[in-house]
Amino acid sequence: MRRAELTTAILLAAFSIYLMWKSAELPIGWLPGEGPGGGAFPFWLAAIMLASCVWIVINWFRRSSPPSQSNQPFMDRDAVQRFALVGGGVTAMIALIHVLGVFGALPLFLIYYIRFLGRHSWTTTLAIALSAPVVVFFFFDVALRVIMPKGYLEPLFLPLYDIFL
């Protein structure tokens, strides 16, 4: 936990410096007749972020914040494993949306999670995994006219568009 606290603060400080540098691409000073430049607001806020990070590091040295006193691991093995399985699954789902679209990626993710992580029966798994895309299609594509990405499966939907849209 102690190491994580310091690492995070340093990473966030680096990000703050990056934001300050990036804000400075627009004028950060006073433009006569126009008011503060477009970069001023984010620049000074990023400076405040940086100052907060320095403060967090000082607290780390003084051991005055709870995470900087804790000897517990930031994440134990079990937590890392869960995080990897679940986070990995969500990441894979979003990546698959580019290829198979929502209606391919969504059931695969639900099957992965409910059947393989949750160890539920195939009946439960398939009932949810197959009904979810149908609900999503009618709610978003048909009712809201928010067209979900279809990836390479787009041609399969053309007949459905003809009927419902």
């Binding site: 995070t8 934001l19 008011g35 503060p36 930031f74 949306i97 929502v102 999670y113 409910i114 009712a143």
Partner: protein, 505 residues
């Protein structure tokens, strides 16, 4: 009397079939969301905003507010039956609700929670109806400096009152505001903060991307880690005779219900405070003033009444600054405010003039939502107990899927879905290190309003920051904000002095 006339018009809107249906649906969905451990009103509202584009704004906000209310009622159900707060706002309800359930008196605790929630909710809506119009008409005269000062005050309450780590709170506020400036400079139209030169950042970051990332994906990751063990559910025996006895006992706690409602309402108005601390404070006060103080924590009905009345009152309280000043009183109302902007409604005091239908329809619907939540709570308890048995390994993937799809629907860019995942994961890791995340969500909603107010104020004054102090109203607000920001410093000095004198003695 004018208020009553408006309220009557509001009821006509609230009783339109569509709106009435949405109140009922919202309350049921909210009860469910509140009852599920790991999901609270803010999660439900964040994930469901993209689905509300189906109906007109007034109906949409009525639906979302009904979810907010339902979730406040629902949080108590799992606090009592599982001993796990269904939402952070129901933490204090576990203190006495759980012991009652373990004694076999779950029905008494559930009824107390439902009735107290109704009482707190209704009393606070009455207060809201009385307070909101005069406050809004005062706020109508506010100029840019005043509005900016109010926002400063909202952020200051996080620093001074939230009790979180101070540099981490300030960091959270600042990063939320910086993220809100990504996209383009609204005055010159030039691209601004094109992070890592990714074209996706040519657009503003929609607040929903951050809100769903944190409250959908991040929250699920968090809950998966925290809720490793299995929970055991208590049994509830419900019969008419027992109910009559319970009602009698409840009538004896009305004083606590009144004081808790007032306390919750006023705490709820503060952006950093809200329902969770409101409920905890009400519990504390009830314990202090009760004759049976020793029985608190062992299964005292008043210990359920106090936090439940307070958390419902607080949720109404947080609507007051949102509707009258355009400053959300809680993360949930921050999301409601952001949603209003998407719908093309300008939040703030002009709302009462420009959108009376929305304001009064919403107000009236709060009365209806409370009544319906009470009925649903009393008559549908067996259904919710059944729902609570739903395994988390089914709920979690459904929430992940809803987050991804809702995140896409909000902006219709896959780039934003990736960004949402990044926010969710980073938010989860930062939360583990005690970084508060609510200030960042509030900041990304308020940022696009705060920056123009600041820049316009400075243009009026030609760069002189004293404009925020010299005008009477903004001056007062700014001074209060500065005192709040410095409050932790005062405390530190006081503690030092005390520590010093102790050592000297």
């Amino acid at each position: 009397m004018e208020i009553l006339q408006h309220l009557f018009d509001g009821f006509l809107i609230a009783f339109q079939p569509l709106n009435l249906g949405l109140v009922v649906l919202g309350v049921v969905v909210g009860l469910f969301i509140g009852a599920m451990p790991g999901l609270g009103s803010v999660n439900g509202v964040a994930i469901l905003v993209p689905m509300t584009f189906l109906v007109p704004p007034t109906s949409a906000i009525i639906f979302l507010a009904a979810i907010y209310y339902g979730a406040m009622y629902g949080g108590a159900i799992s606090s009592i039956m599982l001993g796990i707060p269904g939402a952070s706002t129901a933490v204090a309800t576990t203190f006495d609700g759980r012991p009652l359930a373990l004694k076999g008196l779950a029905d008494k605790a559930l009824l107390a929670a439902a009735v107290a929630s109704f009482f707190g909710g209704t009393l606070s809506v009455i207060l809201f109806t009385g307070f909101a119009p005069p406050l809004a008409s005062v706020a109508l005269s506010f100029g840019d400096p005043e509005i900016f000062a109010l926002m400063l005050l909202a952020f200051a309450t996080f620093v001074g009152l939230s009790g979180d780590d101070i540099p981490k709170t300030i960091f959270s506020i600042a990063i939320g505001l910086v993220l809100s400036t990504v996209g383009f400079d609204f005055i010159t139209g030039e691209p601004r903060l094109l992070l890592f030169n990714l074209d996706g950042f040519l657009n503003q970051i929609n607040f929903l991307v951050l809100a769903i990332g944190i409250y959908g994906i991040g929250e699920m990751l968090w809950t998966i880690e925290v809720s490793r063990g299995n929970s055991t559910m208590s049994k509830a025996v419900i019969t008419v005779n027992r109910m009559l006895g319970n009602v009698k006992e409840l009538l004896g706690t009305w004083k606590i219900a009144v004081s808790s409602s007032f306390l919750g309402y006023f705490v709820g108005i503060l952006p950093a405070a809200g329902a969770t601390p409101g409920a905890l404070m009400a519990y504390g006060v009830a314990k202090m003033t009760s004759k049976n103080a020793d029985n608190f924590g062992k299964g005292e009905v008043a210990g359920v009444v106090a936090p439940e009345a307070a958390n419902n009152a607080a949720s109404t309280g947080s609507m007051l600054p949102m509707l009258t000043l355009g400053i959300p009183g809680s993360p949930t109302t921050a999301i409601l405010l952001g949603a209003m902007v998407i719908w093309g409604i300008t939040p703030g005091p002009t709302l009462f003039v420009d959108e009376p239908e929305l304001v009064w329809g919403l107000t009236a619907s709060l009365y209806v939502a409370n009544l319906f939540a009470l009925l649903a709570n009393v008559f549908m308890i067996p259904l919710f107990l059944w729902v609570l048995r739903m395994p988390f390994t089914i709920l979690a993937p459904v929430i992940f899927a809803l987050s991804v799809i809702g995140g896409y629907a909000a902006t219709q860019r896959l780039f934003d879905v990736w960004l949402m995942l990044v926010f969710g994961v980073v938010g989860y890791l930062m939360r583990k290190l005690d970084y508060p995340l609510a200030p960042a969500v509030l900041a990304i909603v308020l940022g696009p309003i705060a920056e123009p107010k600041l820049r316009q104020s400075l243009m009026i004054s030609d760069g002189d920051f004293s404009i925020f102090v010299t005008r009477p109203i903004s001056g007062t607000i700014t001074v209060i904000a500065i005192i709040l920001i410095l409050m932790p410093l005062f405390k530190l000095i006081r503690d030092r002095m005390r520590g010093g004198s102790d050592r000297a003695a």
